[in-house]
Amino acid sequence: MASSKSKHRITREDLLRSPEYWIENIKTELYNVIQDYMDEHKLNRTQLAELVGVTKGYISQVLNGSSDHRISKLVNLATMVGKAPYIYFKDLNAVIEKDKNDQSAYIDFQQLELDAEKLGRKFIKANNTNIVRLKTHLNNPKAYPKCYTGPVDRKEQFTNPPSKKYNDVA
């Protein structure tokens, strides 16, 4: 089989630095979007091809992960199935460093967004509680004598949880 053998084994770092990994990554992402859409709408390849206005062969290529997509075709297909195809470029050295610490190079953006929303809601809730406490203190200082009334540093407000920075009066 081999005449000129590869001399060095391909390491994880080699793989993450190779275009092949990122091409496969995008193909898999697109496959999952299309497959989810087909499952959700109970469509077969032919029906999906008719719906989005491409050939059945093209859908097969996408589902087989064999197509090297033109950007315009990829975007067309994504928007046809109701998805906005964001693209995000991250520093490759940072990705490799993360991988060395057993953190996946793959980013699940949907999960990331859900986590961020959850965190945001938590922050707003904590901040609102703090405002209510401050208002209550201003109305009735005797009831909550320890409440912080000094100027609020906006930066600190974002970096420190309110309950630790300010005296908890609840």
């Binding site: 089989m1 081999a2 053998k5 590869s6 390491t11 793989l15 092949e20 999952n32 057993d102 793959y106």
Partner: protein, 136 residues
């Protein structure tokens, strides 16, 4: 001495474990990589990417992964000209048993059938396969 042991696959993660089968002292995954001509490096990277993606819990496109008919828990990872076969064995994870070409697919599937039998026999007779550490 036992015929089979395992190496942890370098593309494996802590979430999903992939192992390379060591058959009579030869790591089958490394042997496959070394047999490949440099012109197929790109295909090897594509197969390795599939392992990495499976470790992230992602579903692969139909053309990249296929269950082998009539052979329980045996899966084939596919590139244009090459195939990589793995078996899921309880309490062991996923074991890459063999790599080969598309041309020799039928022969390789028969070899996998035979290998699987021998593997399960060794596990039945001598317990879990030993995981060896790799030198490099």
């Amino acid at each position: 001495m036992h015929k089979f042991a395992l190496h942890k696959n370098i593309y494996s993660s802590s979430k999903i474990q992939f192992y390379n089968l060591i058959n009579e002292g030869i790591d089958q995954f490394h042997a496959f990589e070394e047999r490949l001509e440099t012109q197929y490096n790109s295909e090897f990277k594509s197969l390795a990417s599939s392992i990495l993606q499976l470790c992230d819990g992602r579903n692969l496109p139909h053309g990249k992964r296929r269950k082998i008919e009539g052979l329980k828990n045996c899966v084939e990872l596919r590139s244009r000209n090459h195939r990589l076969y793995y078996i899921k064995i309880p309490e062991h994870g996923l074991i890459i048993c063999l790599g080969g070409t598309k041309k020799n697919q039928k022969k390789d599937i028969n070899r996998i059938k035979a290998l699987r039998k021998l593997l399960l026999k060794q596990i039945m007779d001598h317990g879990k396969l030993k995981i060896k550490t790799q030198n490099n």
